[in-house]
């Protein structure tokens, strides 16, 4: 049995969502190991097959992340460089089709290697994070491999045959239990829910060449990377969410100052998607990023269903809004009723004076 963490390697730093995927892969493999040793001690016939944790490191920085993958429990590393279609300000992107071809190739090659070594595995689980990159390819990967797919899961168990997943549905108001089975299953897991844990192992490394991809005439013409930091919100422990309540440059400066003081990253609700005040990549909600930070500080965010679907898994929510009936207060751990333009200057000053102490 194989549990394979599919890890995009485009940056010098590994995303924490990748570490979460590795951690979840490791814990799934361990629970399988326990099941099979339990079967042996009770005298039943068991293959005694232990689940292997594999990391599929795909991208130009695949070599860079080998050590980290082994540190987080992957004992088999499968590395493939991938052609980059655009590189702008350190942001590198490859077309989705290259990804699907790459995963298909590693699947085919590794399966035939294992078969020739007499190590054939009857079931394989591929785990992905839930980034836009994954969303761009997951369905196509499932169709290519002829494998069932469950997207955006918050909990998952696998016994080598059946995959049982929990995933939020109906704008995160309902939990749906989804079951699938197949010799290969694909799952993407939501970021911020599995604490990364180190499990250092000795790893063996296998190298693969990227297959030739027919891009079908498609060309990645340009990348527009946001100015300044390209930090990924799904990684941030502290998020300062900005809604309609912040409406001008003065407000924007107050928010920037506060974010700096509490080491937070700025996110926006849909109200700011078209205001032009902030970059579109900062959108949190059902149609943007889904985040689960330690703290979500909601500034002037009313709490629409669409926005809440993107942040309701946050560990702590603090909200400031001048409307005491704003729905955000129904889910906030601390709700502050008041005018942001009065509160933020005073808050920033209070935090600054604490720093000076």
């Amino acid at each position: 049995m194989r549990v394979c963490a599919v890890i995009p390697c485009f940056q010098q730093e590994l995303r924490s969502s990748a570490l979460e995927v590795l951690t979840k892969s490791y814990s799934l493999a361990m629970s399988l190991g326990e099941q099979s040793s339990g079967a042996q001690s009770s005298g039943e016939q068991s293959s005694g097959e232990k689940a292997q944790v594999e990391a599929w490191l795909i991208g130009p920085e695949a070599e860079t992340h080998q050590a980290k993958a082994a540190q987080y429990g992957a004992s088999i590393l499968r590395l493939m460089n991938l052609e980059v279609d655009a590189d702008q300000g350190g942001v590198k992107v490859s077309l989705g089709r290259r990804w699907v071809d790459a995963i298909d190739e590693i699947m085919t090659q590794s399966t035939s290697e294992l078969n020739s070594e007499g190590d054939a595995s009857d079931s394989t689980l591929l785990l992905f994070d839930n980034t836009e990159l994954t969303k761009d390819i997951l369905g196509a990967c499932g169709a290519r491999l002829g494998a069932p797919v469950i997207a955006d899961v918050v909990d998952l168990s696998w016994d080598g045959k059946q995959c049982i997943a929990q995933r939020p549905t109906y704008a995160s108001k309902v939990m749906s239990k989804v079951i699938t089975s197949g010799s290969v299953c694909l799952c993407s897991i939501r970021a911020g829910l599995f604490e990364p844990e180190e499990h250092p192992v000795d790893a063996t490394t296998h190298h693969y060449s990227a297959p030739t991809t027919d891009a079908l005439g498609q060309v990645l013409q340009a990348l527009v990377a946001p100015e300044g930091d390209t930090v990924d919100l799904t990684e941030a422990p502290i998020i300062v969410g900005v809604g309609r309540g912040i409406s001008d440059e003065t407000g924007k400066e107050l928010v920037a100052k506060l974010a700096e003081l509490i080491q937070g990253e700025i996110a926006i609700s849909r109200a700011h998607f078209e205001s032009g005040m902030y970059s579109h990549t900062l959108l949190v909600g059902q149609s943007g990023k889904v985040v689960a930070p330690r703290l979500y500080l909601a500034l002037g965010i009313s709490g629409s269903i669409q926005h809440v679907a993107g942040m309701s898994e946050s560990h702590t929510i603090i909200a400031i809004n001048k409307d005491p009936d704003a729905p955000i207060f129904e889910i906030a751990d601390v709700g502050i009723v008041g005018d942001l333009y009065q509160i933020l200057p005073a808050l920033n000053q209070a935090l600054e004076s604490k720093k000076d102490e």
């Binding site: 169709a143 797919v149 704008a171 079951i179 013409q221 946001p226 400031i320 209070a350």
Partner: protein
């Protein structure tokens, strides 16, 4: 068939998930009993209509659903689509893979120049059917579009990626999935509603499509076993009062989170 180029919009009707929700017998019910056109598909349709106005595409909408869904599909015609097809008789519990296989059969028979659809449905938020369909068709795809234009017989799509916007050009035919941040879908006008009654709406059994028998008999590979209410977040304290009280409460709240670096 004319030489006119066609955009096929794949749409779905969903419950009105933005209305209040209640549970009865393990099933979910919404306070608005009328299904709606999936918001992401409405954005896809809006974009198709804008492209049609600029470049003269014919816009055809296809939906998989029960006969009752014709009512929702009629709204798409009222928005301005030229023609619609309702595919009935989908297998019980059809998942994304089953839907993509059915659509693939329809698209191959129909032969549009592009398929445009929502990136996910607003009820399940799964978001797999689009790229599954593209893979079945062997077409280039672009997901999460926030801007679409047509130039030199190519579709130019601006897609929102993880940390940058990607501008991708694709020859026809291609498949595009849309964010609902792409536009504000138009509300049907009275004139549009009147006109929609005269527009062609085809109702067709899925078993009539090429490979129809296997399309309706293949069981879904993923099964929704149960639905349960999400554990609701409990309402915390709400602080009102003078500025000092509010700021004190905030500083205390921030200091409780070590990652903020705020001292208690």
């Amino acid at each position: 068939m004319s030489n006119e180029r066609t955009i096929l919009v794949c749409a779905k009707e969903t419950p009105d998930t933005y209305s209040d929700l209640s549970f009865s017998g393990g099933d979910v019910q919404f306070s608005n009993p009328r299904p709606v056109l999936n918001a992401y598909d409405a954005s896809a349709l809006e974009e198709a209509l804008v492209l049609s106005e600029a470049h003269g595409f014919r816009v055809h909408v296809v939906m998989i659903g029960p006969e009752r869904a014709a009512e929702t599909l009629r709204k798409a015609l009222a928005m301005g689509a030229d023609e619609a097809t309702l595919l009935t008789g989908a297998p019980e519990g059809a998942d994304s893979a089953v839907i993509a296989t059915i659509l693939s059969s329809f698209v191959q028979q129909f032969g549009p120049d592009a398929v445009i659809m929502g990136r996910q449905s607003q009820d399940t938020d799964v978001g797999l059917a689009g790229t599954m369909l593209a893979e079945h068709l062997g077409w280039p795809w672009t997901t999460n579009a926030i801007g679409i234009r047509v130039e030199e017989n190519m579709f130019w799509v601006k897609r929102q990626g993880d940390s940058a916007q990607e501008s991708i050009s694709s020859p026809m035919p291609c498949l595009i999935t849309c964010s609902n941040n792409l536009n504000d879908p138009r509300i049907p006008t009275l004139k549009g509603i009147m006109a929609s009654k005269k527009k062609p709406m085809h109702i067709m059994g899925i078993d009539q499509l090429p490979g129809g028998e296997s399309l309706i008999s293949t069981p879904p590979s993923t099964v929704v076993d149960s639905l349960t209410p999400m554990p609701a977040r409990s309402k915390g304290q709400v602080v009102e009062g003078d500025l000092e009280t509010l700021v004190d409460a905030l500083v205390k709240g921030l200091a409780a989170i070590p990652e903020t670096g705020v001292d208690a």
